[in-house]
Symmetry: C2
Subunit: 326 residues, 2 copies
């Protein structure tokens, strides 16, 4: 029998965690042949709720679920973890600037990065979902001595999927027909959705859809979607964020199917003029299980180029804000 | 291409709905080759929230999701539906007896049964999740003139899965190794978990586990699990209930794999002394897509027989409470 993979999840009793764990346990993340053990982390105050979630996982009788463990200490929750999903983070409170938010999250991700480096599997794969995810990932990765730094990634797949969803709606196509969208940069309002090479049912998006819509409403919808969801639901995106985490890990492990690439925020090695080390969303090609490479040599349009600088500058400034933690 | 199936879901923006819709859209309920269109129903007051859920479904870019529609009128939401999941119901308020609860839900399920009979596909499959689900199902089925009454089912799969989960934990096995549990009767505290023919990794449960545990803590845990979840989570079971709905429909459509049977509450034709017409949980064998048959001729132990009468009596009394609606 295939050895079960250990999946550590932080914020496991939160909204995203609750949407995520059952889909991990059902096999959607790692495929129908891969048993899993879930290791949930929560704050001490949420341990009761997490016990309840663990009970519900047991009550689901998932054939692939070989165990559920819970802890309030990352050095326990991350032990032997093959995959670490850093979902929990301190949310923004009223009047808090982005820089403040980054600072309050610093110690959390420093501690979790240390725990990963100390107790997780030596080739652990890390996905940071908790915002600001790119810089939280940078902070965690700074602790990596034993675990390869390239294994630290952050999630822009929700932005990517939102772009796919909007293109499919506009073209009256299905999401499966939309390929090769790119999200560049930071998971923030400076992100750059890029449809220059995207296709729908084999047809070029720039040929198919008018540029005024692409540059205007489409671009704005993708960037501002999080706020629109809060407005409608009264709560932030949870199930769609969990779904994007499933997709990110699924594709990293099992490939992107007939897509050329997907969008993942990974450590820059200087591609496209992005300073080395920043956790930056690039088009990534999956070349084998847990093997990604940044797609290089794409010609960027003037419009994309001009927007790229703002997201690079923002990430560089976020790095400056936390430089004492790196 | 396979024609998309239309799945109507009531209470679509509620806790169970939120856990359910994304797993339907991802293909977990009907398999990886079956496109779906989701048709959500909510109360007028929850339409904003449902719009938000629909946005998140779009944002998940599910390859199999060919459409999301929302409505506050079952005659719109159920239109052409191949599958109708009646998840929403009026919850029990403080001081309300079970009979009161049944009465307040009566008009809801009468209306929804009429809508199914009027606008759903003529061979629509119905699963009632909203409690008291057996009798709510009876009420809805009473409206069926066009849709076959045998297509009206209620959910005891959560109880079934809870039993499997407890047996797996006790025997240190995985849920996939546990087979042929039965839940008899009503989805209420009178239900009868029956492990007389259950096996774990091929070994008979009555041989493997001591009868004091099976008759005592096991039986009680399965019956009282809902309350224990509320106590731990501060909220009722949602993700595990959604999972059981997925399993119920999945197995009804695609079969139970190497299980002899599963537990489904379906209209009795008089088997095992259960009065004809009651919606009663039986072991059901799936003989083809959307084909179930009640497993007949099982020899019941004295213990099971004695408990069966209580759950039969309860369901008969519930039927009496709503006889004017039937």
């Amino acid at each position: 029998m295939t050895r079960p993979m250990r999946i550590a999840v932080t914020g496991a009793a939160g909204q995203i965690g609750y949407s995520l764990l059952f889909r991990i346990a059902s096999g959607e993340m790692l495929g129908p042949d891969q048993p899993v053990i879930i290791q949930g982390l929560e704050l001490p105050v949420a341990m009761n709720a997490l016990e309840g979630v663990a009970m519900e996982l047991t009550d689901s009788a998932f054939p692939l679920l070989h165990g559920v463990e819970v802890a309030d200490d990352p050095k326990i929750a991350f032990k032997g973890a093959d995959i670490v999903l850093l979902v929990g983070s301190r949310p923004r409170s009223a009047g808090m600037e982005r820089a403040d938010l980054i600072r309050v999250n610093g110690p959390i991700f420093t501690g979790q990065g240390q725990a990963i480096d100390t107790v997780a599997a030596e080739d652990a794969k890390v996905l940071v979902v908790g915002n600001p995810c790119n810089t939280n990932c940078l902070i965690a990765a700074a602790q990596a001595r034993r675990v390869p730094r390239a294994n630290f990634t952050a999630m822009t797949r929700l932005d990517h999927n939102r772009a796919v969803g909007q293109l499919a709606l506009r073209a009256q196509a299905t999401p499966a027909q939309v390929k090769n969208v790119i999200i560049w940069g930071n998971h923030s309002s400076t992100m750059v959705p890029d449809t220059d090479r995207a296709t729908i049912d084999g047809r070029s998006v720039p040929d198919l859809l008018d540029s005024a819509w692409l540059e205007g409403p489409f671009d704005e919808t993708v960037r501002e979607r999080g706020k629109a969801i809060i407005q409608a639901r009264g709560k932030s995106s949870a199930a769609s964020a969990a779904n994007a985490a499933i997709d990110h890990i699924h594709d990293w492990f099992l490939g992107t199917g007939d897509q050329e690439w997907t969008s993942m925020a990974v450590p820059s090695q200087g591609q496209y003029g992005v300073p080395e080390g920043l956790i930056f969303s690039f088009p990534c090609r999956i070349t084998g299980p847990w093997q990604y490479e940044i797609v290089e040599g794409l010609e960027l349009s003037a419009s994309v180029k001009s927007k790229m600088q703002a997201t690079i500058d923002e990430l560089a400034s976020e790095r400056e804000t936390v430089k004492d933690l790196l």
